[in-house]
Symmetry: C2
Subunit: 371 residues, 2 copies
């Protein structure tokens, strides 16, 4: 039996990502494919690097999108910086810290866990204590904006602690880039990775990363080879690096990069500070409306993300049934809880192009109708 | 200064990939993004798996696209099957064998190189000899269709030799899938990876893979963890596997998968045997025309790919200047030589949607004008 073309339903995406994609980004994806060594393509690659520097607030030369989703960006940051035998402090206050721990294990290194309650920020004092107990720790890795809970951690303070102890800091900014204040250079974040399907409102599939000179020096002076060929920054830079003739490493995902370029142009047009402000303002409106429905955020206000809000589920409500009705009757996607929060919260996203007044109204009206 | 949207030139892609993308595949990329756990999306994932089984001529349950380009598919096949201390026979008759060797090294295993001249098929006798010299070798890895040279190797015979010696076979079918005869089950290929940007005529960024039960059993019974979290088949199958509730691993590249689905529907509509036949017939026409221009294939006819033809460059011709003129005056991309063949050949591709009479005429006319 012949399979027919797939025409997806038109959803409103207010979960933990992917977020709604702006029409002009969708259109960009369908522009004609050109070669990955085409001179015109290389012009676009250079523009993407500059636009990413703008988004990350960095002057790092080594700033480019990894050709795979955010979890590959995480692995890229870790496998390049971690060597067997290293000690790595991993802050875990949600799903993604646990994933970092698993990658550190697979590098033959020793993860030292700093645990905080799911739904709370990383406690910097615990990071300090972990360094005191493990003075040779080489790296601290943490999640700036925990997608699984909606908590925002204090990146600047964690970086200060790391540097005081002569360690590097790796920051997961998958959900923060474009939606929360983020100053890679000013805060001294040494290696940072992100994703495209959150506040940049691109389809998933790429992971913007940036490494400062301190991180690059460590990568260049490794005693062992990076365990991944695909993710080895030393090789990838032959293609994405500055100046020199671009040499083939892997074939870049051309059309996905068209989409990223377009979304970064949109971010530049809006101005990143305005984007942060929009996310904050819309979040306040949504939370006010959710409160009226008896849905309260689980993260304390001072640690709460604007772009992703976890709310507790009222007693006696079948949370999966509510999500199904929202999807089937309103074409509205919101997110379920993950891990320790499974069944306990909904995660409502207002990320990137999803962070619009129309979406807030739709979400509140739909929830009101269903609850 | 504000960066403007990027509008690529319209090229005809007759290099080693990416190939021309059919208009309906480009359109599919821009369909509305839905969530990666949306029930409708999961229907499409299941269809992609079935369509890939059709393309690979396999019934393997473990058949899905890795969320990254072909080189990540190569690494996925190797890191899942290879453990530290293993011996792996790697056939090298072009660039991609060398890459396999590097990955085997990074797995802490020992690569045993079987070398053949660039532009020739893998010599099965050398594979046999390598097994005799290394009877404990666990795997033989080879490239079915060498993109760097245009040579086709005898996958069936290599697989027979591997199995006779109780080893597994890993086949790189990046350039063969859809363009050359390929029978994964009939030939007994244990682990196979491919790319989307060659004879499937999708944009680059995904790597279809398939593993048979013999390979899956070995992966499930590893003594050590797979060194990559992102590529660990044990984890990825929680999302792409059959039956069970799909669990989150990474966020799938939604819109790229729309494109792959559409191109696989097109392949099914044409019929894969018809696609093979079209590639063969168009190749003959192109080669006849190239011969008239004094451009002769470097690969002997019985080892030659239909979809990618390396031709030697006439004496005294500035090969880079010719490619520049083709690009600038005719919007036509052909490929340069790589590695041992750099400066010595052009690589002309007739892959997937690029394998059309119009393209043959354009290419021959343009070369005639420029030479």
């Amino acid at each position: 039996m012949a399979t027919k073309p797939f025409h997806p339903p038109v959803r409103t995406l207010m979960g933990p990502g992917p977020s709604d994609i702006a029409p002009r980004v969708l259109e960009a994806l369908s522009r004609p494919t050109i070669g990955h060594l085409d001179p015109q393509f290389i012009v676009m690659m250079d523009e993407i690097k500059e636009l990413l520097k703008y988004a990350f607030k960095t002057n790092n030369d080594v700033t480019f999108p990894v050709s795979a989703p955010g979890s590959a960006g995480m692995e890229t940051a870790l496998v390049n910086l971690v060597e067997p035998g290293d000690k790595v402090i991993v802050c875990q206050n949600g799903v993604f810290g646990g994933r970092m721990k698993s990658i550190v294990d697979r590098c033959g290194a020793t993860p030292i866990l700093v645990e905080d309650t799911w739904g709370r920020a990383v406690d910097p004092q615990k990071v300090e204590d972990a360094f005191i107990a493990n003075p040779t720790a080489k790296i601290v890795a943490f999640v700036h904006a925990e997608t699984s809970t909606g908590a925002l951690s204090d990146a600047r303070t964690i970086a200060e602690i790391a540097h005081k102890h002569h360690a590097l800091v790796i920051a997961d900014t998958v959900t923060s880039l474009g939606g929360s204040k983020l100053f890679v250079d000013e805060w001294g974040l040494d290696a940072v990775y992100s994703g495209t399907q959150k506040c940049l409102s691109c389809p998933p599939g790429l992971s913007p990363v940036t490494f400062n000179n301190r991180a690059v020096e460590i990568i260049k002076n490794r005693k062992t080879q990076v365990q991944s060929w695909f993710m080895d920054i030393n090789l990838v830079l032959g293609y994405w690096g500055e100046g020199a003739k671009r040499s083939y490493h892997h074939t870049a995902p051309i059309n996905s990069l068209y989409g990223l370029h377009e979304s970064l142009v949109m971010l530049q047009e809006e101005g990143i500070e305005n984007s942060w402000e929009r996310h904050t303002a819309n979040s306040k409106k949504l939370i006010a409306g959710l409160s009226e429905l008896g849905l309260e955020p689980i993260v304390p206000e001072e640690e709460r993300l604007a772009q992703l809000i976890s709310v507790s589920i009222p007693d006696g409500v079948d949370e999966a049934a509510v999500r199904s009705r929202l999807l089937n009757e309103f074409n509205l996607e919101i997110g379920a809880g993950l891990g320790a929060l499974a069944g306990k919260v909904w995660r409502i996203g207002l990320m990137g192009y999803s962070s619009r007044k129309e979406n807030i109204d739709l979400c509140l009206n739909a929830l009101k109708a269903v609850l």
